[in-house]
């Protein structure tokens, strides 16, 4: 095999693997990415029921209800609109009223959001970036949000 042929073969195989990877990436991006939405988006029905999304906002104070078997309900608000969230399981350590959360799950037909994972902010200086942006967009951003809301 000549040097040229060998190189051609190598480049061919390389391109083949690359094509495979691009194919995998594209299908995976189609199937497995999750969009981030605010409660306003959800109420305005920008999101189809049954679609998997991440919902971000603040936990509305006084809205946490605990049920049997680790079931919990709470409201997520961006100041304009509020979405009810149902979740079963253990909430993260930093889940508190008035704090930023990101819930991942599916919106039901009744407009209630069923979360299968709940992420809270990770320390008192940190608010999920999407939540902060969503609040800013809605004009409800206060500079002291996320700074230190515990008295």
């Amino acid at each position: 095999m000549t040097r040229k042929k060998r190189r051609l073969l190598l480049v061919g195989i390389g391109l083949g693997v690359l094509a495979l990877a691009v194919g995998l990436v594209l299908t995976a991006l189609n199937d497995s990415i999750v969009f981030f939405n605010s409660p306003t988006d959800v109420v305005a029905q920008k999101v189809k029921p049954g679609a998997r999304i991440r919902l971000g906002g603040l936990v509305r104070p006084g809205s946490i209800e605990r049920g049997e078997n680790l079931a919990v309900r709470f409201d997520v608000t961006d100041g304009n609109e509020t979405v009810k969230v149902a979740y079963t399981g253990i909430l993260p350590d930093l889940f508190r009223e008035g704090q930023g959360v990101v819930c991942e799950g599916v919106i039901g037909a009744a407009g209630e959001f069923t979360a299968d994972s709940v992420l809270a902010k990770h320390d008192e200086n940190y608010m999920p970036k999407e939540v902060a942006d969503a609040l800013k967009r809605q004009g409800h951003w206060k500079d002291d949000y996320g700074k230190d809301s515990s008295p």
Binding site: L10, V25, F36, N69, L70, I90, D123
Partner: protein
């Protein structure tokens, strides 16, 4: 006073770096040995000054000097000493100081141990190393001075983020940085080769030990970080495909590819241009990782640092070094002469195959990590790319690599015999199939993929063992002869086999953990019992406990199996007073390579607690396998051929020269 001395030492290190960045390279151009040797003095001196700066900051943390801003933000006088020390790098400023400390350390090591290097190559390498150092010293001094004082010192510090107050995270960053930053040497060598316009097999022999060393530390660092996330975050997950984790995985993948391509270059003088590119890319990915983690552009589990001005500075460094290196590469690489020919089916071919898949896998991780950032910048849409994406892309790309791995070391250089190797691997394939069948038999309604994963893992492990067995002729020649051959076998071959075996071990752990883990989330009242895979957990109640800088609520669970008591598990919730922050301390019980994992959720007024309970079969193999890989790396590193400056042995090997 001590903080000011540290600051001054860092400024001096910058001054030295500027000298080292210019004088030796000028010397190399004018062939002036005196100028070239300036780097031999400035590189260790830089290390001494950065070490002094680092010691000064450590001192400020140890004595809780609350007039230093970094100490106030990240320390507390009641914190245990070990976490006062680890607090030095548990924050942005200190961790950047650690970064440059390690950069200076590697520069000094090359200066001291690189005696056998051609003077011009060494001078160029150390000069490039110093460009990087100068850029990062400037970054620290301009945007993130760790020694900044507060005009009015508070009486008490704000404490270190409680999640970071853990032994695992105390040693994780230094290991990770030793890996990340260690690749800077390969980068500097590549740049030096491009500047010189000359590269040969000897170059690969000089670069390989440094790459190997960095790779070993990075492997350990990633494994350590993964184990930390596993027990500290309380979810029982060991890899989240979080951008910060990906930031360390990308240089690892590229670095692994570099290790393999450097072998081809060293042995066969081929793949030169590619190896140089990989050396550049590996460190570029380390820089990108530093940028992702330190600029706060990501929303991530580990995003502890956020400040946009710093982001722009690091981005500028990134663009300068990656752009500059690639431009130099585009200009000079065509001048590098191509080397030895090889057939597609050969050891070289197998290593090319390895490189192809590793770099492609690295590219998919890169896309998955940066796509959300790019999309948000371009359209404003916010998305998250999580585990499903990576499982769909990374997994299928690893599969051919794993299947091909046992073949590689058995193929001959230049032209290999695929059929012959396949025959020699029959035993491994058979054992793999038996494992597959056994896994099916034990668990006939579990996930279908799991038994196949077990089969492949066994194939990889046995394949690695078979390679050694074949080479020393175990079973074919008298035992004493085999033993003598084993002793005479180059250490790098032991290294290859051990590291490949380790990959199989990791795979086995990953497959078992992901496919056969059993999880239960329940609410328990005192006296109640919950069972998981025949292990019974009886909840005895919760008790408060006082720690040095936290109060804890400790749950007490008695564990038994078939009525036989095994011990008590005490998972806890710790509340750190200085930050009013709670962390979950999972309790672990190790049974062989498997673990029982228990973490506490909320406690309710009626005395019941929510608990998360896992049985994780063979989970320890994930990290033990990584350790095995590192041991393989250590064997390879101890090969006399790679010992820097070691003269070539007059007589190679013993009576039998293995097929290299």
């Amino acid at each position: 006073m001590i903080a000011e001395l540290g600051h001054y030492a860092l400024v001096l290190a910058l001054a030295l770096a500027l000298v080292q960045a210019t004088v030796p390279i000028w010397g190399a151009r004018t062939r002036d040995l005196v100028l070239m040797r300036v780097a031999d003095i400035t590189a260790p001196a830089q290390f001494v000054f950065v070490a002094a700066a680092f010691a000064a900051l450590t001192w400020a943390f140890v004595v809780s000097d609350f007039s230093v801003a970094a100490v106030v933000e990240n320390s507390h006088s009641a914190k245990p000493l070990i976490f006062k020390i680890s607090g030095v790098w548990g924050n942005h400023e200190g961790s950047m100081l650690l970064w440059v400390l390690i950069l200076a350390l590697f520069g000094a090591l090359v200066a001291l141990f690189g005696r056998a290097l051609p003077p011009a190559l060494k001078a160029d390498t150390l000069a490039v190393q110093s460009w990087i150092a100068a850029a990062f010293y400037a970054f620290i001094l301009v945007t993130s001075n760790p020694f900044a004082r507060l005009p009015v010192p508070p009486a008490e510090g704000r404490d270190l983020n409680p999640l970071l107050q853990d032994l695992g995270l105390a040693i994780h960053p230094p290991l990770l940085y030793l890996g990340y930053v260690g690749f800077s040497i390969a980068f500097s060598f590549a740049m030096a080769a491009l500047i010189e316009g000359r590269i040969d097999a000897a170059w690969a022999r000089w670069v390989r030990p440094w790459t190997l060393l960095a790779w070993m530390f990075l492997t350990l660092g990633i494994a350590m970080g993964s184990y930390w996330a596993y027990y500290e975050l309380g979810w029982g997950g060991w890899w989240f495909w979080d951008p910060v984790e990906n930031a360390s995985l990308m240089p690892w993948l590229a670095g692994t590819a570099l290790l393999h391509s450097a072998v081809v270059m060293e042995k066969r003088n081929a793949l030169k241009v590619w190896t140089v590119l990989l050396a550049i890319l590996t460190f570029s990915l380390s820089l990108i990782g530093t940028f992702l983690v330190r600029s706060g552009v990501l929303t991530s589990v580990h995003a502890f640092a956020t400040d946009p001005t710093r982001g722009v500075f690091i981005l500028a460094i990134l663009v300068f070094f990656i752009g500059g290196a690639l431009a130099l590469y585009a200009w000079r690489a065509p001048m590098l002469k191509q080397g030895g020919l090889f057939a597609p089916v050969s050891r070289e071919g197998a290593l090319v195959f390895n490189n192809l898949f590793l770099t492609t896998a690295c590219a998919t991780v890169f896309v998955g990590t940066l796509y959300p950032l790019a999309l948000e910048a371009l359209t404003g849409d916010k998305i998250s790319v999580g585990a499903p994406f990576f499982n769909l892309t990374f997994g299928p790309l690893m599969l051919p690599l794993l299947l091909a791995m046992p073949f590689g070391p058995m193929l001959a250089w230049k032209r290999g015999d695929l059929l012959g190797v396949a025959q020699r691997l029959m035993v491994a394939a058979a054992i793999g199939l038996v494992g597959l069948a056994a896994a099916f038999a034990i668990d006939d309604h579990g996930p279908v993929l799991a038994p196949f994963g077990v089969g492949i893992a066994l194939f990889v492990m046995i394949g690695a063992v078979l390679d050694l067995v074949e080479r020393i002729g175990l079973g074919r020649v008298p035992f004493a002869t085999a033993l003598a051959r084993a002793r005479g076998l180059p250490r790098s071959m032991w290294g290859t086999a051990i590291a490949h075996f380790g990959v199989g071990v990791v795979l086995l752990g990953v497959v078992a953990e992901t496919q056969w883990s059993k999880e239960q989330i329940v609410s328990l009242k005192p006296g109640e019992t919950v069972s998981i895979r025949r292990y019974d957990f009886t909840f005895r109640g919760v008790a408060p406990r006082q720690g040095p800088n936290y109060t804890a609520l400790v749950g007490q669970f008695d564990v038994s199996r078939k009525q036989e008591p095994l011990g008590r598990l005490e998972p806890a919730k710790r509340n750190f007073l200085a930050r009013d922050m709670t962390t979950t301390e999972a309790a672990l019980m190790t049974r062989g390579f498997s673990q029982l994992y228990l973490s506490l959720g909320d406690t309710h007024p009626d005395g019941s607690v929510a608990v998360r309970l896992y049985h994780k079969p063979l989970v320890l193999l994930i990290w033990l396998g990584a350790v095995v890989m590192v041991i393989g790396g250590a064997f390879s590193l101890s090969d006399r051929r790679l010992r820097v400056g070691a003269p070539k042995p007059a007589r190679r090997g013993v009576a039998v020269q293995p097929a290299e």
